[in-house]
Amino acid sequence: MPGLLQWLDEFAGPTLFEFAVSPTLKILALLFLFVLPLISYIVLAERKILGYIQARVGPNRVGPWGLLQPIADVVKLLLKEDVIPVRAVRWAFVLAPCLVVAPAFVIFSVIPFGPPSTGEGAPNWFITDVNTGLLLVIALATIGVYGLIIGGWASNNKFSLMGGLRSAAQMISYEVPQGFSVVVPILLAGTLSLVGIVQAQEGHQLFGLLPRWFVFHPTGIFAFFVYMVAGIAESNRNPFDLPEAETELVAGFHTEYSGMRFALFFLGEYANMIVVSAIAVTLFFGGWLPPFDFLGMAFLPMGLGGVLWFVTKLFAFLFVYIWFRGTFPRYRFDQLMDLGWKWLIPMALILVVLTALLKLLFPS
């Protein structure tokens, strides 16, 4: 492996290696070693947990405790016939699933999974730390909706079109409160960089009883609530999964999709779930920071303790997502719009002003 890296370095030259080859390798490693396996096992975890919530067992036939079920699912989806309707707009129909997946994957390049390098061979546990990190995340998340809209339109099917329209309306409504709610941690940290936001949450308050995570800040906790509701709506999950409401729209925007293209939509939804959870952990729950210093697992090499904490918090959020799906009924569309425009947006606006005031009055 080091030999290969050296060969690439010499072949590409230093500039190209630093700006093109090395990030590409990191992105591929992150995708194929972490994100894709994680997604396939979240699907299994979801079926298992939903099973237990509904007093069933869930998948238990393929492998011990059903642990090989994701592999069977992937093989099945790859081998299935891929149908494109005759009256569909072919290029748009093919393009749409990619448009859902690609932005969600790009966001992973700015998420800090662990602390920055402290020297002694420890790597940076993120691909890049850009100056506009958080803004980039939100911008890319909003781009993801095009896949849903285009897919719904290109299928040439009433149910698909309705699903696409619903997702467009839902996205426009919920990206506003989401955008305002992340302004609160930005104000508290004074930076847009995701690494900088985590570093601003270091230390403790209340005589060392509480970590200084932004969720324990008087306005931060409400901002977290707004962010989480808007985030669940943005990733089209229960109780806000109206674009694919089975009881009304068959399967919504992906009614006409089958085989691997359907799997890509599925993949995009789960990738978005992970992104929303990871950003919530980063902004409000201290990212890679342990709640108390003695729990920091500093004995682990290369900052792995931080990564473990991040992944633990991430899994907790993913569990909450699945829990919601098992417990909440779906919203009606007018209720969804009411919640977004009449409650979340005013609440988020008030929070921004309050946080700015607090910061002005108590600069510490």
Binding site: G13, L16, T132, A139, T142, V145, Y146, I149, L161, E175
Partner: protein
């Protein structure tokens, strides 16, 4: 490979510039409103990439966020909702061509005069121009914030009030119907 490393920025610039111009041309020539909207989206994203190439990452990302994520979704929403079909029978030219050509030529002359009159520095020298505050390189976000909220505060506030007026006007017009 050395050629790619040395001229990569220029290659990317011409690629995205061509995409932006090509997208803009498609917007006005295609007959299906849905395709026009897609072409406009292509132009917006290509312009965002051009901003990124000039190290103006804040402006680039805001371009994606506001135009790509907000305005174009609204356009698509409206186009899909009113279900416009192809417009094959509408006439492409409406007898305003001489006037349009005259206006276009005037604009071209204006831009041409500007282009000839401007002194272009070699690009590597001002690479950090858009991320500098008071001579210190900080980042494009900080640079934009400082120029908006310190150097040009009054014009910025006036523009915001204008936008607010337009918004209230739209709400009032919408309520009347």
């Amino acid at each position: 490979m050395e050629f790619l490393a040395a001229h990569g920025g220029a290659i990317l610039f011409y690629l995205f510039a061509a995409l932006a111009v090509g997208g803009a041309l498609l917007v006005i020539t295609l007959r299906n409103p849905m395709y026009c909207a897609f072409a406009l989206l292509l132009t917006f994203l290509a312009v965002a990439a051009l901003f990124l190439l000039r190290q103006a990452e804040f402006v680039g990302v805001v371009q994606i966020f506001v135009y790509g994520g907000g305005i174009m979704v609204l356009f698509l929403f409206v186009v899909m909702l009113v279900n416009l079909h192809n417009l094959p029978d509408a006439r492409r030219f409406l007898g305003q061509s001489p006037l349009a050509v005259a206006v276009a030529l005037m604009l071209l002359g204006l831009f041409g005069a500007l282009f000839i009159g401007t002194h272009f520095a070699p690009s590597p020298e001002n690479l950090d121009l858009l991320r500098t505050v008071d001579g210190v390189v900080v980042g494009n976000t900080e640079a934009v914030a400082m120029s908006l909220y310190r150097d040009y505060l009054l014009p910025f506030e006036i523009a915001s009030v204008f936008l607010l007026v337009a918004m209230i006007g739209a709400v009032v017009l919408g309520r009347r119907q």
